[in-house]
Amino acid sequence: MVLAVILILIVVGSLVFHFLNPWTLTELASQWGSMDTMLHVSFLITGVVFVAVTLFMAVAIIRYRHRGGQRARFQPDNRRLEWWLIGATTVGIVALLAPGLVVYSDFTRVPPNAMEIEVFGEQWRYSYRYPGADGVLGYADIRHIGAGNPLGLDPDDDAALDDVVIHGGDLRLPVDRPVRMVMRSKDVLHGFFVPQFRAKMDMVPGMVTHFWFTPTRTGRFEVLCTQHCGTGHYNMRGHVEVMEQREFDAWLREQETFGRSLAATANGERPDDPVELGRRLADGEGCMACHSVDGSRRVGPTWLNLYGSEVTLTDGSTVSADESYLRRSIEDPRAQVTAGYSPVMPAYSFDEDEMDALLAYIRSLSEDAGEE
């Protein structure tokens, strides 16, 4: 009897919770309202089954609980009833599946006027690429990755030269224009998910994946990774800004094309300024994926004001973050790990000039750098 009452309370409680709890869909910002509709249809159909089954159990327990003297009815089966139940279940399944597949076929068919934008994943950040004036994303491959070419665009492909690479910035999208996100990864699996857009897709190294949506309202939204990609997975994030087409065009025009930035790097070769060289190295070698320069906490300690500070290690001891400590932390990162961080950094080896440049860059990020 207690069980029957509890079962009824579970049904009532679950329904009340469903309708009253504050945790629900984020406000939609893409055209995928049909996905929300299918979610609600699913709740409706499955909700009816959940309530019916649980209440049936409660009633059966109330009516047929053992009270002494009664006998169960011997009833091996009831084919008629079973076929009715199979039929009703099939109807429910079709009611879920048929509209679901119609919406899914929209998902598989990219509108012909969709704008192509590339999202590039690496541990643990996103970069983006726009096709430039020719409207075509140029050829790219991991093998081309190098200084000044973080996404590995092919320098010999004319279609790549006018592409715009956004490395370490927000994704910007024009409102009300379908976008086909073309996705690549540099290292491991990643995901690209903006809850307000609903649709998501994984990035897979060695292949190009894609999905599409149309942003339907302007605003700034969070991008998060939805495929486990290592220790920093939870902190792989970005932002997308949906803006009016006019603003978007103006912004895009201001961006440097790949061809121009490549030329700048080639001409400058190695900048004479060690801080600038260090900055480029840090960017190209992937340091910035884990270490921020603005004080924010990422997978590794921030570099802002790191130089010269007192660092507490996992064993409780403290060291001064001087040049020899930083050098050792780069070459043998697991020797002295900062308290509160995981020993995940791989060992790096740089030649003397590069190491000096990197250290100069880190030093330049400290307030007391001038005293050196």
Binding site: R65, E82, D187, A199, G206, T226, Q227, G232, Y234, R237
Partner: protein, 582 residues
């Protein structure tokens, strides 16, 4: 009829020394206990790991675990619970104990292989536990072990950790194969006189079909594990494309990360049913026995088990809707996945129809069976969301998925495990488990897990991603969601701690429980008709039992006693019991 006369004469002499009786035992009952205790022990490790994860999620300010440890605990928790606890316990534990007793055999047909199966299982567990102590610790790749991440530097345990995990899995598969061959062969070849396939209890059907599935599905995981070991150690490129990880060019080219996902889920989805089908079988027998009524629609139940077993090999890529695989696959796998809901629904209907016009005894095993139905219905219905590809796209990799699979293949089968342990404990020990402790254990576990996992669905709908060490500073996650996480952590810790009640009850009752007699639940199936309780070596004394009816003759009209054991001959004339008319 698969009666084998030679089995009767088959006299493997009863072992005398402690070592041959309890350590290097070839008796299926001792092996079953060895399997069960090992599985429960390793399950406690996994339970503690989940508590540590929950503390991080609910009270991140405690700084108890760092990000690496979190991912390592998450990985080991999942892998242990699915493979080393549930699979081992249902097949190696319940399968070993119940199959020979329920079909009327003296033992498994290959007792020596059966013994080896346990020792390989134990070895796989020890290798897995050893990964806590290797340099870098255990792998933190998530229980799905997706490459490239599983073997690249940005993941904890990418060196020794992943290798010990893969080696442990390979050893486990050897153990499961030896066990599975035994279970299948025993069911097919060692049934006693009169035990037709369609007279077998649903427990045997569930474990039988699950064992066949394990034999077909585990090889996919085995080859995947071997290939990944080669990628990690010899630099082959089965799953590894050209990548630059952590600033380093890796020596790979041309491999396919998606290939691993297909292999993993070709194993992984049948694996869900390898756990679920034994649970379906066991719970059917719990419900029928304690409701004092024949299971409703026995034939339909058997065919539903077979249908689910077959269909489960055609649905694997519903785990990969947003993996980047060809989108056209989505149509096929959405349809196959939702089709499997039909036989599954039949099982639920038949369980609850068994309750109708029954004589329901709300014993502790029955309470767990009822808790199972509610939990399984919620978990099964949310499976319709995730199977329906377009509903899955926003929900994939969110807490909705976490809630779904914990309900359907975590909590639901574990409730059956508990119910079945309370139910068959008297046969194993000759003593009853304590009823009050059992009731308390049930209510805390059933209601607690519901409170833990039900709200998680809504965090997922909001978009909260799974496998996150922390959720600091995400604008779309309101403070109330963090508060909910803290609340869930409290509930999880209470439920975790409550399992001590069960463990205490288990060991205390084994020594001091009330003597149960041979058939305390007044059940019909063969294991309750053994001449001795606990059954002695060889199970049946001088003569094998003879079976005359199905296992569900409860409250047969015209018969005073409310159950008729399977060994009871049919009356010479007059009406016959239900099984005859089917």
């Amino acid at each position: 009829m698969a009666y084998v006369p030679s089995a009767d004469a088959h006299a493997h002499g009863e072992p005398q020394s402690f070592v041959t009786k309890y350590i290097w035992s070839q008796d299926h009952k001792v092996i079953a206990i060895q399997y069960s205790l090992t599985a429960i022990a390793v399950g406690i490790v996994a339970l503690v790991l989940s508590g540590l994860m929950r503390i991080q999620l609910g009270m991140p300010e405690t700084d108890l675990v760092d990000a690496s440890a979190y991912y390592q605990f998450m990985t080991l928790h999942g892998m242990i619970m699915v493979v080393y606890l549930l699979t081992a316990l249902f097949l190696g534990g319940f399968g070993n104990y119940l199959i020979p007793l329920m079909v009327g055999a003296r033992d498994m047909v290959f007792p020596y292989v059966n013994m080896l199966s346990y020792w390989f299982y134990l070895l796989s567990v020890l290798v897995l536990m050893a990964s806590f102590f290797v340099p870098g610790g255990p792998t933190g790749a998530g229980w799905t072990l997706y490459p490239p991440q599983a073997i690249t530097g940005g993941t904890p345990g990418a060196g020794w950790g992943i290798l010990t995990m893969l080696v442990s899995l390979a050893i486990f598969i050897v153990a499961a194969t030896m066990g599975g061959l035994n279970y299948v062969t025993t069911v097919l070849q060692a049934r006693t006189r009169g035990m037709t396939l369609m007279r077998m209890p649903l427990t045997v059907w569930g474990i039988f079909i699950a064992s066949i599935m394990a034999l077909l599905a585990f090889p996919a995981l085995f080859v995947a594990a071997v290939m990944m070991i080669l990628d990690a150690t010899l630099g082959t490129s089965f799953f590894m494309p050209a990548i630059i990880a952590m600033g380093r060019e890796m020596p790979h080219e041309g491999g396919s990360p998606l290939l691993f996902q297909h292999l993993f889920w070709f194993f992984g989805h049948p694996e869900v049913y390898i756990v679920a089908l034994p649970a379906f079988g066991l719970v059917s027998d719990l419900i029928s026995t304690h409701a004092r009524k024949n299971i409703f629609g026995y034939h339909m139940m058997v065919w539903a088990i077979v249908a689910i077993g077959v269909l489960s090999f055609f649905v694997w890529a519903h785990h990969m809707y947003v993996s980047g695989m060809n989108l056209s696959f989505g149509f096929f796998f959405a349809i196959s996945t939702l089709v499997i809901a039909v036989p599954t629904a039949i099982k639920v209907y038949n369980w609850i129809l068994t309750l109708w016009q029954a004589d329901i005894h709300l014993t502790v095993p029955m309470l767990f069976a009822m808790g199972f139905i509610v939990t399984f219905v919620v978990g099964g219905l949310t499976g319709l969301f995730l199977g329906n590809v377009v509903v899955d796209i926003p929900l994939a990799d969110t807490y909705f998925v976490v809630a779904h699979f914990h309900m359907v293949m975590g909590v639901a089968p574990i409730l059956v495990v508990f119910g079945a342990l309370y139910h068959w404990f008297p046969k194993v020990t000759g003593r009853m488990m304590n009823d009050t402790l059992g009731q308390l254990h049930f209510w805390i576990t059933f209601l607690g897990t519901y409170i833990i996992f039900f709200p998680m669905h809504y965090l997922g709908i909001m978009g909260m991603p799974r496998r996150y060490y922390a959720y600091e500073d995400y604008e779309f996650i309101p403070q109330s969601a963090h508060d909910l996480n803290t609340f869930i952590t409290y509930a999880a810790l209470v439920v975790g701690a409550a399992q001590v009640l069960f463990l205490f009850n288990l060991f205390w009752s084994a020594l001091h429980g009330r003597p149960s007699g041979g058939n305390p639940w007044r059940a019909t199936s063969l294991e309750w008709q053994t001449p001795d309780t606990p059954p002695k070596h060889g199970n049946w004394g001088e003569k094998l039992p003879e079976v005359h009816r199905w296992a569900y003759d409860y409250n047969v009209p015209g018969v005073e006693q409310d159950f008729i054991p399977q060994t009871e001959p049919q009356p010479e004339s007059g009406h016959s019991a239900g099984e005859e008319r089917t």
